[in-house]
């Protein structure tokens, strides 16, 4: 019999019972909550007169629709200018207070993007099942957890039962062998994977990312990769536990201590796919082939190496694909066969659950240091992923580097990744963004998003157009 994959092991260890129709009840260890997808779930509990099953499994924070402006934030919830947003943030505070759920409120030291604070505080641990009403929950799989996004009905279901009705997914291995060149990052790896398999390429699958490139990557880099599994269609992305994972978790606030730490580490060391495990789907990439990526279209699969030119619809034979490319070029205001480096950039956004951790900010600061934002660029937003990241960056002087370059240093939140707050693009504006989605209107009605790594975003900010960051690195 073939060995087990990491996903098989996590699934089996959390199986409460198999139901007679092929689905199963899976036990959920950790449930993260935020203001946007939880209010209707709490309301549902109240209407059905139900209580949460296990309060201490839940952790909440406000991130999606809060302001990132220091002055507006300083006034607290009552100072949130948009009354609809204010009610939503207040509702999260009220719900957490009513049920006794631990919440890092908007200006608390523990606040941040839900997918940044989970790992940062040790609330995400290897071997866990973790869910959140947000599709980027796969981020937490970087620690060898089974983590995925759920809808609001499921948020209510987990609150009430500590379980989810689940169907086992297929196993997909994305193996990235070899090594990455200088200036090529975790973001470029995951964009290259999505470009290769497409935005529906992993529908129905749990992806395990493996290979030398992933093993060599930092845990934060692995989070960036797992974060975007959903952009390839997979709800779940994960990486096997190794020494880096264990070193990362050690000493964090909610991580086990003493004897429990020793027991936990010995359990975690089994969290990898067996050598003879069989995967349903195998995708292989070679690290040396991956270059800095820039998305040109309105789906994350519309992505190319920075030196490339956007597609020419006349060269595409499949009618449906051609229509999609024509529509994307039209929305993005691009000419067929235009070079990516000739696309001017109006705004730059460095942040989001994909790329707002300390290593991301360091990479952006390394490019920004000693340079100036190009005059044609209207705004460069640097939004740290959490209060802790902000504090660390300030301790390292990164905020000063960004501000000296002419960039805005902001308060933690989801910000322009989904533009629920005031941080958004104007119609027709091109944005070099370290976020995860380039859908039509995602960053503001009529806005044009190009997905890139933090280093590439900083490079675009100083050049005023897309540029291969390796050219700037050679200059330095």
């Amino acid at each position: 019999m073939a060995g087990k994959t990491l996903y098989d092991k996590l699934w089996e260890s959390h199986l409460v019972t198999e139901l007679n129709d092929g689905s199963a009840l899976l036990y959920i260890d950790r449930h993260l909550l935020h203001e946007v997808t939880s209010p209707q779930a709490f309301e549902g509990l109240r209407l059905a007169n139900r209580q949460p099953w296990r309060i201490d499994a839940n952790l909440a924070t406000a991130d999606h629709n809060i302001s990132t402006e220091t002055t507006e934030r300083a006034g607290g919830v009552q100072a949130i200018a948009d009354p609809v947003s204010r009610i939503q943030v207040q509702t999260l505070d009220d719900n957490c207070a009513e049920y006794g759920i631990v919440e890092h409120r908007m200006n608390d030291a523990g606040q941040g993007i839900v997918h940044v604070i989970g790992p940062e505080q040790g609330a995400t641990l290897p071997g866990m099942t973790l869910v959140c009403g947000d599709s980027h929950t796969a981020t937490h799989g970087a620690l060898g957890a089974l983590a995925h996004g759920i809808g609001t009905s499921e948020v209510e279901h987990v609150l009430a039962t500590q379980c989810l009705v689940s169907q086992k997914m297929k196993n997909m291995l994305v193996r990235v062998d070899g090594e990455l060149g200088a200036g090529v990052t975790a973001k470029d790896v995951v964009l290259a994977v999505i470009g290769k398999i497409g935005t529906a390429g992993a529908n129905g699958c749990a992806i395990e990312f493996g290979g030398q490139v992933i093993r060599d990557m930092t845990v934060e880099g692995r989070m960036t990769v797992c974060n975007m599994a959903i952009e390839a269609g997979a709800r779940v992305g994960m990486v096997a536990v190794d020494d880096k994972t264990i070193d990362y978790v050690k000493g964090r606030d909610y991580a086990p201590k003493g004897d429990q730490w020793t027991a936990a580490v010995s359990a975690w060391q089994t969290l990898h796919s067996d050598a003879d495990a069989e995967f349903d789907v195998l995708v292989e990439l070679q690290g040396e082939d991956i270059e800095p990526q820039v998305s040109w279209g309105t789906s994350p699969e519309m992505v190319l190496p920075v030196g490339a030119r956007v597609p020419d619809p006349e060269q595409i034979t499949d009618a449906n694909k051609r229509d999609g490319v024509v529509r994307a070029l039209d929305y993005m205001g691009l000419q067929p066969d235009q070079a990516l480096v000739d696309i001017p950039v109006d705004r730059v956004f460095i942040g989001s659950c994909t790329n707002s951790r300390i290593e991301d900010l360091r990479a952006a600061a390394a490019v920004a240091e000693g340079r100036q934002v190009a005059e044609s660029v209207k705004q460069v937003l640097i939004v740290p992923g959490s209060q802790a990241v902000k504090k660390q960056a300030e301790a390292e002087g990164l905020d000063k580097i960004f501000m000296a370059a002419g960039m805005d240093w902001r308060e933690p939140g989801c910000s322009m990744c989904l533009a629920m707050n005031a941080d958004r693009l104007g119609t027709g504006e091109h944005c070099a963004s370290t976020s995860n989605r380039n859908f039509e209107g995602r960053q503001g009605n009529g806005g044009r998003t190009h997905l890139v790594s933090p280093a590439m975003a900083a490079a675009a900010a100083v050049a005023g157009h897309f540029i291969d960051v390796r050219e700037l690195m050679a200059e330095a």
């Binding site: 946007v36 309301e43 309060i55 429990q260």
Partner: protein, 215 residues
Amino acid sequence: MKKFTTHSGLVAPMDRANVDTDMIIPKQFLKSIKRSGFGVNLFDELRYEDEGLPDQDNSQRPLNMDFPLNWPRYEGASILLARDNFGCGSSREHAPWALEDYGFRVVIAPSYADIFFNNCFKNGMLPIILNEEIVNDLFVEMNEQEGFSLTVDLAAQTIARANGESIYFEVEAFRKKCLLDGLDEIGLTLQHVDAIKGFEQNWKQSCPWLFDALS
């Protein structure tokens, strides 16, 4: 949950692949703490010429008449005919809420994104998967015949065309049962309360660090 047994209705098109949930219901409408009222902002950026805001009077906004849902022939449509990977992107359940609130009870497409597909069933909506050739045929027929309607019978797992032909579709047994009976999924899970408690007790013994750490 609202039951779904049979449904007959007018079919309307969403003729592009990879329709994402940002497109189905843009982010500015997610600030609501309610489950209802999203229908007027369904496909907001495609439906209207201007930028939509929460709590505005949508009846005064300029309509984009290139968008089929604004055409009189699709008024009152309750079955949406769509393309591959419908509902990709964000997990927002506001997407099926908006479709349902607008009046859609059925979506037909060759494939769906996983989270959206799952979310539909929690809201009394039936997302049907048909192979691409049949979906192509349905698009052709719908374009040719004004008033093109279909009848969906969930118990029989069939879609009846006006010409009497019947198309069979697959649906998972548990989801079918929940829709047919309008079952409360939380209530069903709580029938397994002993199994959950038993699991939890064992799990706590083997991984005590997963419990109580946050309190």
